[in-house]
């Protein structure tokens, strides 16, 4: 147990040590800190990714509180990649706007640590701690531009909403602990439902679901999302919209997989309603948006609705579709917000849709990244988004949720309109958009990598799909 314990937390140690070292570097070696800090951050995120990809600890660690199976390792790799990409996108962005201090990089690593903990938690305490670590770090990251009122306001809104979610979650976990008597997630949720514990179990689960609903912004709890995404610095928005949502959704997938059939029978109708609402409201509200970041925010809400739809099929083999789409979604949103980051001028964020008029000709590559990401978000071939949507809807229909799938398909058709509208603005020659200075070879490289991955996964998705279904099948046993 002790041996595997250390191996299990290797990525965690790497991120935490990186964060602490960055803080130390920022405080104690002021001269060369600005050169060393990004390198340190990059190295520790890369270390975390490599160690979770190639080192198999062969068993859960930390007294069984931390899962180390393929599922959590897969997500750990995704989070490391998201962190690396965010680091790359924010490198120039943060330096030009004067918030590239040690606190930004250090807290970014801590947020990544929180994500890995959330996705890998097999104990409520670890889940709670990871989620709070993630949220607390995100509050700081969103407020990173100290002198920007929008950034402050976004941080405040996310703080208030996040704390409410945390409160609900904590209370729900307390009730679940009371009813099942255990803090172990799979043992607790896997226990059968009796007449005695039904009320408590359902109360606890619904409180936990309210908390999770806030975090992944399902529709009745989504109101903070557009404001926060608009106000936060664009690379942070990329990080927030991908990392935190994917992490919490991974945890939700784990809960659903290990929940007992009787419990699941109560949860499924709830998820049905939430998924339908989220898809409809997200897509319809996005139609009216005139700011790119707000539009992407509503689009990301709708995307979560699609994933939730496939989550319903989790007991019928839909889990691999969910995991695949989460990976693809991370790429798409990272690319879209990353493109906003690299297309933004130094003085302000390029936010209004009109500012993008004709951008496709001024900056073909960077606008191309945005265009491909939008294409993929809309679910059009030959991008990864198409395959992802296909497997999602396939899983939902296979599991017998035809009506919900129809709602989803209609919502997706509506969504094509606003994605194509942005595309039209990008490639209409009529506009006057200022030329944005280059933002470094790294940012362009990351953008190209996302673009290539999206197209590659759209054309040859099967290796990743097979790998994911292997991972998921090992989890459910």
């Amino acid at each position: 147990m002790m041996d595997s314990g250390w191996l299990v937390i290797l990525p965690h140690i790497s991120l935490a040590a990186g964060g602490i070292l960055i803080f130390c570097a920022g405080a104690f070696m002021r001269r060369r800190a600005s050169d060393i800090i990004p390198v340190l951050a990059f190295a520790s995120a890369a270390c975390a990714g490599v160690s979770s990809a190639w080192i198999d600890p062969g068993g859960p660690g930390f007294l069984g509180m931390l899962d180390s199976g393929g599922f959590s390792r897969f997500f750990a790799v995704i989070f490391s990649l998201i962190t690396l990409m965010t680091l790359v996108f924010s490198h120039h962005y943060a330096r030009d706007r004067g918030f590239a201090g040690d606190e930004f990089y250090g807290v970014l690593l801590f947020a990544a640590l929180g994500m890995i903990l959330v996705a890998g938690a097999s104990h409520w305490l670890i889940f709670f701690l990871g989620l709070e670590l993630l949220s607390l770090s995100l509050y700081v990251l969103i407020a990173a531009r100290k002198n920007d009122p929008a950034s402050n306001e976004a941080a405040l809104k996310y703080f208030v909403m996040g704390s409410v979610a945390g409160g609900f979650l904590t209370f729900g976990i307390a009730v679940l602990y009371a009813v099942t008597g255990r803090m172990d997630i799979s043992a607790g949720l896997g226990s059968t439902m009796t007449a005695d514990n039904r009320a408590g179990l359902l109360l606890g689960l619904s409180l936990v679901m309210v908390g999770i609903g806030f975090k992944i912004s399902l529709v009745p709890f989504h109101l903070w999302t557009p404001d926060v995404y608009q106000g936060a610095p664009a690379p942070v928005t990329a990080f927030l919209s991908t990392g935190s949502k994917v992490a919490v959704f991974a945890a939700l997938l784990r809960f659903s997989l290990c929940s007992h059939e009787a419990v699941w029978a109560y949860m499924a109708p709830l998820f049905w309603g939430l998924a339908a609402l989220t898809m409809i409201v997200g897509n319809v509200t996005a139609l009216a948006q005139t700011h790119l970041k707000r539009l992407l925010a509503y689009s990301s809400i709708a995307q979560m609705g699609y994933v939730l739809m496939a989550l319903l099929a989790v007991k019928h083999g839909g889990a691999s579709a969910v995991v695949f789409y989460l990976a693809v979604y991370a790429l798409m949103d990272l690319g879209a917000f990353g493109a906003v980051a690299v297309l933004s001028g130094e003085d302000r964020e390029r936010d209004d849709l009109e500012d993008y008029r004709g951008m496709g000709y001024v900056h073909p590559w960077r606008a191309g990244l945005l265009a491909v990401c939008l294409f993929s978000l809309a679910g059009l071939p030959p991008t990864a988004g198409f395959i992802g949507k296909f497997v999602l809807f396939h899983a939902a229909i296979q599991a017998g949720y035809v009506a919900l799938a129809l709602v989803g398909i209609l919502a997706a058709i509506v969504s094509v309109y606003y994605y194509l509208r942005v595309m039209g603005i990008l490639y209409m020659r009529t506009g006057e958009c200022g030329i944005v200075p280059r933002t470094g070879i790294l940012g362009d490289g990351a953008g190209m990598m996302i673009l290539a991955l999206l197209l590659l996964l759209g054309i040859v998705p099967s290796p990743l799909l097979t790998a994911i279904s292997n991972i998921v099948s090992s989890l459910s046993h």
Binding site: I20, F23, C24, G26, A27, F28, R30
Partner: protein, 138 residues
């Protein structure tokens, strides 16, 4: 003694930890307060003048608004206190299980304290503890 019912003795007995004594005390105190307030309001002479409406009668004359803004360092120090104070709870909980946790626990809490110390130095070097001037080193 026989004439008093058993239940009353139990309720009045000071040795039984119950809520009865507290209720009696509460009623007595509230009643006394009410009587004193009522009597002093009823019997007292009511004459209003400028002297009497002051916050501190015959005291120092107040100047300015009472709602003055505290300087920012107060908040900073309060925040730091909050953090470092609560961390003590973990050290206490280690201390009560000191023997059971052994050397492994000692090592872990040492690491914890070292990280805390590093963060204290971080705050110090970043200028968070500087009082007075709001210019901070970068």
């Amino acid at each position: 003694m026989d004439s008093i019912p058993q239940g009353a003795i139990q309720a009045l007995s000071p040795w039984e930890p119950g809520i009865f004594g507290f209720v009696v005390y509460f009623i007595l105190v509230t009643g006394l307060m009410a009587v004193i307030l009522f009597l002093s309001g009823w019997l007292g002479v009511k004459k209003k003048n400028a002297e009497k409406t002051r916050p501190y009668e015959s005291g120092i004359l107040p100047t300015g608004s009472a709602r003055l803004r505290y300087p920012v360092p107060f908040f900073l120090v309060a925040t730091f206190f909050l953090i470092f104070d609560v961390e003590a709870a973990y050290i206490f909980s280690w201390a009560i299980a000191f023997k059971e946790l052994g050397w492994a626990g000692w090592l872990q809490i040492t690491f914890f304290i070292v990280v805390l110390a590093v963060s204290l130095f971080y705050v110090w070097f970043k200028g968070g503890l500087e009082w007075g001037s709001t210019t901070r080193r970068k």
